[in-house]
């Protein structure tokens, strides 16, 4: 397993953002669904080794992120796209991706090839030498995705990756993460259930800091057909049915 979470909790003062989550995942694409404030981003930040958990056991890529040496190894094989991508406007696309490749300690002689491959994967070749300040929001999102995959991560974490992408690019991105999921563990936090249906082999649904559903997209769809879910698409109905049940139980 690339990810093993056991009873993970994260508190911010009195607010419990993640509440006793137990989860494991191997290679494949795991969709992380949930309403606003469900704890998805906090969970993703813990998986990205940005936040330490308040309690519980976390193992990533077989290592303990609390230990500095292990944390370095995890980060070497980690790709992360935050919800809000910060960037340096004066850098070009290639420089920004190269900068992160070097900070992730990709061997310097492999960096040019890795950067070129990442740029091609997100279809930014024609804008490779453009300054970031000249790019649109969707293009910047693709730059963010490129920096996340430049080190060929074994654990890739994407927080709202398709926000701002046009339909064509969203389709391309889904293909990209499916491809990545062949060998790596990819976790995609999103509000867009169609992304989950198209790209994810598994789904986890969070509500109030807890994982209230874990299964395949087909199982989520089935829950919608069986329950009281509302929505236009089968997955949306499954999503709302599980959330309704979770809220009723709490």
């Amino acid at each position: 397993m690339n990810i093993e979470l056991s009873d993970i909790t994260r508190k911010f003062s009195r607010n419990v953002a993640v509440d006793g989550v137990t989860l494991d995942a191997g290679p494949g694409v795991l969709g992380l669904l949930g309403p606003n404030g469900a704890g998805k981003t906090s969970l993703l930040r813990m998986l990205a080794t940005i936040l330490p958990p308040s309690s519980g056991q976390l193992t990533l890529l077989g290592r303990d992120p609390r230990k500095p040496a292990d944390r370095r190894e995890i980060r070497r094989r980690l790709g992360y796209l935050p919800q809000s991508l910060g960037y340096y406007p004066s850098f070009t696309v290639v420089e920004f991706i190269e900068y992160f490749a070097l900070l992730k300690e990709v061997p310097p002689h492999l960096v040019p090839k890795a950067v070129a491959a990442a740029v091609e994967k997100v279809d930014l070749g024609p804008r490779a030498k453009s300054k970031l300040r000249t790019l649109s929001g969707g293009m910047l999102r693709r730059v963010g995705i490129a920096q996340a995959i430049v080190n060929e991560p074994q654990l890739a974490l994407f927080d709202e990756p398709t926000a701002g992408l046009d339909p064509e690019q969203r389709v391309a991105f889904r293909a990209l993460i499916r491809d990545l999921g062949q060998t790596a563990t990819v976790i995609v936090s999103t509000h867009l259930v169609e992304d989950v249906g198209a790209a994810c082999s598994e789904v986890a649904l969070m509500s109030d800091g807890k994982v209230v559903f874990r299964g395949t997209p087909q199982e989520l769809t089935a829950r919608g057909e069986a329950g009281q879910g509302v929505g236009d698409a089968p997955l949306e109905r499954g999503y709302s049915a599980i959330l309704s049940a979770a809220r009723a139980a709490s």
Binding site: Y80, P82, E95, L102, E105
Partner: protein
Amino acid sequence: MTAVALSRGPARVLRIEIRRSVVLWSVPLLLGLFYFDAFRTAAGLPPVWTVRSSAITTHMIADFGPFAAGLAAWVASREGRRKTGDLLATTVRPAWARQASALGATLFWLLLTFLAGVAALYIDVARQATWGGPPLWPVAVGVVEVATFAVIGFTAGALFPGRFTAPLAAIGTFLLAEIGYHAALGVQPGTSTYALLSPSTAVPLGDDGVFYHVAPDLAIAQVMFMGGITIALLGLLTLAPVFRLSYREFWSGVSRVGRWLCVAGVALLAAGVAASWTAFALTGTARLGVSGWIIPALHDAASDQPVPYTPDCAGTSFKVCVHPAFSAYLDAANMALQPVAAEIAGLPGAPVRAGQVASGNGVRNAQGMRIAGLATAGLSGTPPVYTYTSDNPTAPFWGSPGIADTAFWGAGFQQELLTPFITGSNNTLLEGNVPTPAQQAVVTALTTALSPQAQLSQGFINGQSPGRIAAAAERFASLSPATRHAWLATHLPALRAGTITLDQLP
């Protein structure tokens, strides 16, 4: 990863940072400031290495320092301003290494621009200087000072990332530099140590480093003090992630940052504070010597020995000599003094030679400050020799050689020679002997006769109205040179004794 790969990675990060550094945009502004302030100011000073290099510490640091602090704060605060913290936190390289690259790129452009300015300044001096070589201590002080200002700004930007940090850092360091500069203006023994540690204190007298070496003691202390601050701030930056945590998270924070890194941070902080404190304590023992400020623990007594030189001279029967560093003034000095020598030739006590000696030359006023010029300007020896310094009050070599071509400059120089000759006092002002009205009138008359276009001041009024002295001077000046010479040959002893009145002047 191999060691080579590990070293190439940071080098490439640094290359990206250098290529995209915000400082690059400020280089034209910094060069413009340098040209209009430091370079032009230096160009107006004598073409003497030590004198012109003082523009590095008095002007260039003030020009570069606040910009260095502001730009470095802007660079350091970008992770907070651009919200890249989360993204960067997932990378392998620690924050200190990332910041080191950003700081390195900032320093690269700042110091490159600073050193380019120094090079331009020194090339200009090299084209005009007639003696000596470029002093390196002012450059070392300047480099360390600019680096310190940059690190102060960088630390402020890293600890308090925000869009107002950069202007506040620039303003704060500007005020700091100004306080230091003003403290240094009134620096004297017993004054605050901070004033001595301000690089502006290195401003030399007109001929420091010419007759005697400039002792590097104070420069060493300044470098140590500023370097200590820089090292301490780098330690603080290393520890910054721990300081941001609450006390409950402190030990887990230490663990996350890395125990050895924390040890290194504490060691840097301690070493920096120790270096600065040592420099402060050493500076407290500073005293003035012939070679400038001396710190006993750092002083090399060999630097107190006079620097050997062969003077440049002009004239035949009456030689006018200058130190070779001031050769640019030789023609003007010769032109000014030869007519005086001719006017008084053959009179008792007339000098046979004029020579430049060191300013101050170890003479101190009541506060212990060196007295520039007055100490050794005068007539002495047998046969008498007129000695003057580079900063005589009315005939200074304290400006570009162009000012030596003016009539006023020449007349002032002539008056400097005539006053001790007519009064018979080796140094009138230092000995407190104010010339009698008749002596004043004769000095003024002779100077006016030699330089009729110069407007001389009546500097020694002593109980007589300026009008009466001026009238007597005019009367005496209107005599033929032969008549004046004959009268002086007869009456000079009485004139020197003060027994001749204004009415007795022909």
